[in-house]
Symmetry: C2
Subunit: 462 residues, 2 copies
């Protein structure tokens, strides 16, 4: 049963499992104790820290283990912000960071700090210039992911780090998605990551803070992990995490090359096999194992369900799969289509046959969802004579992807040069109607508020 | 090799190991995902929560899993304090709480809150009257451990809970040391515990907050665990923790009765086998598996080392085993001897033979340490005629147990009714000189500050 959501979580790497078994026997005691079981635990902890630091590219005494990648991000951001409180209360993040970073930023704002979001281009990438423009003399910290978790775009970390270094601002890198593939380049100041993204067990994150970066741990004091991560050290999982990181790194180049071929195949073929698909994220500067695309006129949750029934586990940034009814903030920041969104992230070792099988199943799965939504293929653009120069559609109460389907059905009812206005109270329309226009070659004229909902206006171009 | 420090950490219970293995296969995926691996993980998580809630005695939707007992305590205290901010900023804790509670209290004070410490008697127990006296109309929260982690004294939680309920103040119970033995009695409002204390894996704590208790999670938002514990859920460890709790509970009554006999044997025999020993903690209202005693004229670290060489792993609250040079805050609050302190906490299944072997080894280990410190047995109380009505000893720069040894050597040099004043800059003298007086039947007259150090004065009584 193919599992294609390794960007969420991966099964335990065989090496991690072995290390976990061994350290459950050898490493259950408190490493702070002086008796033999404690000394043995201390040796294991020291060795795991050395191994992790080597993989990260830092000194062992710069690295602490945390209970998760989220804890590493929360602690790291709070610690540097507090350490540099005297400089100012300004925090810079990209618009496409992981929610742990954005939630830290929101908490910082709630405490009276200020936050700037650096925008991304349509591929999901920030620019060094974007960061340069956001830094101020009061900037205490800048944060940037090494690669995006939803679309796989690799960020220009080294360039941004240079810009930050020139301004004297520390850069914290969320390396959760990329650390399995290699160390983060550039002169970053702090780095956070999560073991269960590289085949380690859950329950382990890591936080590296370079010597010289002012850091003040927040929350109640605790002497463990240099005072930077409270609680009893989760040693067996830490040992397993370090072993796993070393193991995936040993295979990383070979595996990256192999998966890159499979992902390229998906990127190329999905647009040929499925009508009205947009592949999102940078085509070249990207993670080797991850590809994301969105399908017009498709309900993301229904598509996931269809693929699950066919035996494929994938993820989605569509609003329709979440309880909040808002699409992924990443897709929104990129300004790309969000409906029918599918993220495929291949675990190491994925055989080509599984990818081929996915490409065989996908077109039928998409067609099935569209059929149930009443969308023929391509959507019925009436050949009849236009009804009027401009039309207004009431799509109030309809949820993604219905407003776009209504728009697609109606566009043929106005002449080339005529306009269709869609009245919608679905948050996703703001993203998907312009995206549809770009895919279909129509002009998006903008939005205006209405007493109920928002009016989105489109001019027919062909 | 007998390991007698289960109050610090215990090896994984066989049932926990089995559950961990199985859930590494079945429960590695993100339980928030809709595909089969996610649904399977969700089922495991729900079942673990039900099992843990049943053992705790709360509803499943009142309980969340945290990365450690320390995280449960930190989050629980911060959440209730914030939820009841409008009531006031006053926090009540006992003087003998675990450091995670006391550090939370210190952090609360640093943010402008106020804290009252309820004292304990010589057995380490608080009284309901002590809590009643500490509560004010501005008290947002009271905290009390179910049993003490260093001396095993069981606290009157149900009585204190009643006092708190009458005052409308929620009570948070740190149940880390007792949850393996049974649910916490009384109408507590919140409860924290740690799985690796009951044979579960490290990396799992639990926090229960009764419906109706105002609670506001602190730190960056995170949707997982009802918004009360951020980070990817450590599911395999959670499943193992819940399985282990159920398993140890099934054996708890039988095992408690068996270990109580062994601990009684230690309590009775240690005072006969080793001269100048004080067994501390309540003799009756106590944890079944834990006993603590202190040995006059003994360096705690040296004794631990001696016992470790003989194959016994035990713990100590002596200052000489820590880097801070201060004795355990628990022993200090109780006003009992701290030098040569040993905590024995027996894991379930400890055979009687191991306890007997310990009692055989202990007298020689203590005697060996005393011999190296130059203390003959009993300490040389000179039979010679007194030198003077009062003597002053300069013990500046000497560390525990040396100041007390100097005092014991000198007391014979003054007549009955005469005084010896010890000048010491060792923090421990404040605790151990009065404790020595109580053990030897001399009068402790008090302390007074000196330009260097403190002067402690003792009147010879026999």
């Amino acid at each position: 049963m193919p599992y294609f959501d390794t960007a969420s979580a991966a099964p335990l790497h065989p090496v991690a499992r072995q290390a976990l078994q061994a350290s459950l026997d050898e490493g259950w005691a408190d490493p702070a104790r002086l008796y033999r079981e404690g000394r043995r635990a201390r040796l294991l902890l020291d060795a795991a820290r050395e191994a992790a630091a080597e993989a990260v590219g830092c000194r062992a005494d710069e690295l602490v283990f945390t209970p998760s990648g989220t804890h590493a991000v929360h602690s790291g951001i709070a610690g540097v912000l507090a350490g540099r409180r005297r400089v100012g209360g300004h925090l810079v993040v990209s618009a496409v960071e992981h929610s742990s970073v954005l939630h830290s930023a929101a908490a910082h704002e709630a405490r009276g700090g200020s936050v700037s979001e650096v925008p991304v281009d349509r591929s999901g990438a920030v620019s060094a210039a974007g960061y340069a423009g956001a830094l101020t003399p009061a900037t205490a910290l800048a944060c940037l992911q090494s690669a995006n978790h939803e679309v796989g775009t690799v960020q220009p970390v080294a360039e941004v780090a240079e810009v930050c270094a020139a301004a004297g601002v520390p850069l914290l890198v969320d390396a959760a998605q990329s650390l399995a593939w290699g160390p983060v380049e550039g002169t970053w100041s702090a780095l956070a990551a999560s073991a269960h993204k590289w085949g380690g067990p859950p329950g382990v994150g890591l936080l590296a803070v370079r010597k010289g970066v002012r850091y003040s741990p927040q929350g109640p004091a605790d002497e463990r992990e240099s005072g930077r991560s409270p609680g009893f050290v989760n040693l067996p999982a830490i040992v397993a995490a370090a072993a796993s990181l070393r193991a995936v790194r040993a295979e990383a180049d070979t595996e990256a090359a192999r998966l890159r071929v499979l992902v390229d195949r998906i990127r190329r073929r999905v647009v040929r096999l499925v009508p009205d698909v947009e592949v999102v994220g940078d085509a070249d500067r990207r993670l080797p194992h991850l590809v994301t695309f969105s399908c017009l006129y498709v309900d993301g949750e229904a598509l996931l369900h269809e693929l699950d029934r066919a035996g494929f586990s994938v993820s989605s940034g569509s609003s329709c799969t979440s309880s909040t009814l808002t699409p992924s903030h990443v897709l929104r920041a990129m300004g790309v289509l969000s409906e029918g969104n599918v993220r495929v992230s291949l675990p190491p070792g994925t055989p080509a046959e599984e990818v081929n099988a996915f490409l065989e199943v996908l077109p039928g799965a998409v067609a099935g969802v569209r059929e149930r939504l009443g969308v023929s293929e391509p959507p019925a653009v009436a050949a009849a004579a236009p009804e009027a120069e401009s039309l207004e559609l009431d799509a109030l109460g309809l949820r993604c992807p219905q407003p776009v389907i209504e728009l697609a059905r109606a566009i043929g009812r106005v002449p080339v040069g005529g306009t269709v206005t869609v009245l919608s109270d679905d948050e996703v329309a703001r993203l998907d109607i312009p995206a549809w226009c770009a895919m279909r070659g129509h002009d998006y004229l903008g939005e205006s508020p209405r007493p109920a909902g928002t009016a989105y206006t489109v001019r027919r171009r062909s």
